[in-house]
């Protein structure tokens, strides 16, 4: 038997809420929402961790402007380094940001290894940046983390909405709590998410032209409409703060 499974709960015992930021498609802003949510919460004096599980497309370090990769400190496991007030673990720490071509079983093993050896300190929130789609990572996180909740990101696109709908339906079938669905990069005339996800619709994040310029600079990131919207999401705040 694999002993690592039996310590995952113990490693996460000091963590309050664990929120996986997911969505059906690539490029819809999951990493942006995960990174800025962590940043906004840290800026509101919450104790926050960020775990980037998008192994093949890790990008939260780019958003947060982290380009100096070190192995985490070791003390009866690995201790997530604290960057911009966020306890942070990414595969890039171990790959030196090289391409990471992993197949399914390798992804499962890498997730399990990270969860078994990482000692998260006391946290109010652990935000997990997920890869696109329903895949090994999604199934492993649901299997391994009992109190996982999903924040689902979509965009004003029929294609994205159609794919995300299937993800939401699966999570509902599996009785996995959904914190809500956020429609990202919206413009005023289209509201697919509100119509498609009436029960769990949280709100919209407008397309923000300043975001690209702010990437890598946490002070500028906190001034973006995306960050301000996340900070002001009353439903999220009611549920999270």
């Amino acid at each position: 038997m694999d002993p690592r499974i039996n310590v995952v709960e113990k490693r996460l015992e000091k963590v309050g809420r664990i929120i996986a930021v997911a969505g059906g498609k690539g490029g819809i802003g999951k990493s942006t929402v995960a990174s800025l949510l962590a940043l906004v919460l840290a800026d509101s004096n919450q104790k926050v961790g960020l775990l980037d599980l998008d192994f093949t497309g890790a990008s939260t370090h780019i958003i947060l402007g982290i380009d100096n990769f070190h192995f985490p400190e070791e003390d009866e496991g690995i201790i997530p380094p604290k960057l911009h007030g966020i306890s942070y673990i990414t595969i890039a720490n171990f790959t030196q940001d090289h391409a990471t071509p992993l197949r399914g079983q390798d992804i499962t093993n890498a997730i399990l290894e990270l969860l078994a050896i990482t000692r998260w300190d006391e946290l109010d929130y652990l935000i997990i940046d997920m890869p696109p789609g329903i895949n090994d990572t999604t199934l492993d996180i649901i299997r391994l983390i009992n109190n996982i909740e999903f924040c689902v990101v979509t965009t004003p696109s029929k294609i994205t909405t159609g794919v995300v709908k299937k993800s939401v339906e699966l999570l509902e079938e599996l009785d996995v709590p959904i914190l809500g669905v956020i429609e990202n990069m919206t413009y005023p005339t289209i509201h697919y998410a509100k119509e498609t996800f009436p029960k769990c619709y949280l709100g919209t994040i407008p397309f923000d032209e300043t975001y690209e310029e702010a990437i890598g600079d946490t002070e500028k990131l906190l001034e973006t409409t995306i960050a301000k919207t996340l900070r002001n999401f009353t439903v999220i705040c009611d549920k999270m703060c």
Partner: protein, 137 residues
């Protein structure tokens, strides 16, 4: 050292099995570790002895047997098979350390010696598992 975290996983598992099987004493734990974990037997044993102190009565005089399974790969592209021990000397210190933390990063730093593909299967010698737990009821 993160070996402690893995040793803790082994002993946590032994405690769970002991509870499920109504064992009052665990007498033997056989642990297999894949060579790809690049774990020092000595460091892991030291970590195990530390963790065992958490439940001295349950683990009094327990014998912990540690076996290292050689790691081997099979290329998904050309079918070539090779062993970790034949290529690990080519890794630099950081690459070895990366694989030590997360063995799957072997896919980042190793390539098939025959066709240079990173698309290979870790056929054996990955991970850690508890092979058997013996005890008294």
């Amino acid at each position: 050292m993160h070996e402690w975290a893995l040793a803790d996983a082994v002993i946590t598992t032994a405690k769970k099995v002991a509870k499920e099987e109504n064992l009052i004493k665990v007498t033997e734990i056989v642990v297999k570790i894949g060579e790809l974990q690049t774990i020092s037997r000595e460091i892991f044993n030291t970590a195990l002895q530390q963790v065992l102190k958490d439940a001295p009565e349950l683990f009094e005089n327990v014998e912990c047997k540690l076996e290292i399974e050689p790691a081997g790969f099979k290329c998904m592209n050309c079918g070539h098979e090779w062993l970790f021990c034949d290529v690990k000397k080519k890794l630099d210190d950081d690459e070895t350390e990366s694989i030590h933390f997360i063995p799957e990063t072997a896919h980042v730093f190793l390539k098939c010696p025959a066709c240079k593909s990173p698309d290979f299967e870790i056929a054996k010698g990955r991970g850690i598992w508890v092979d058997s737990i013996e005890g008294e009821k």
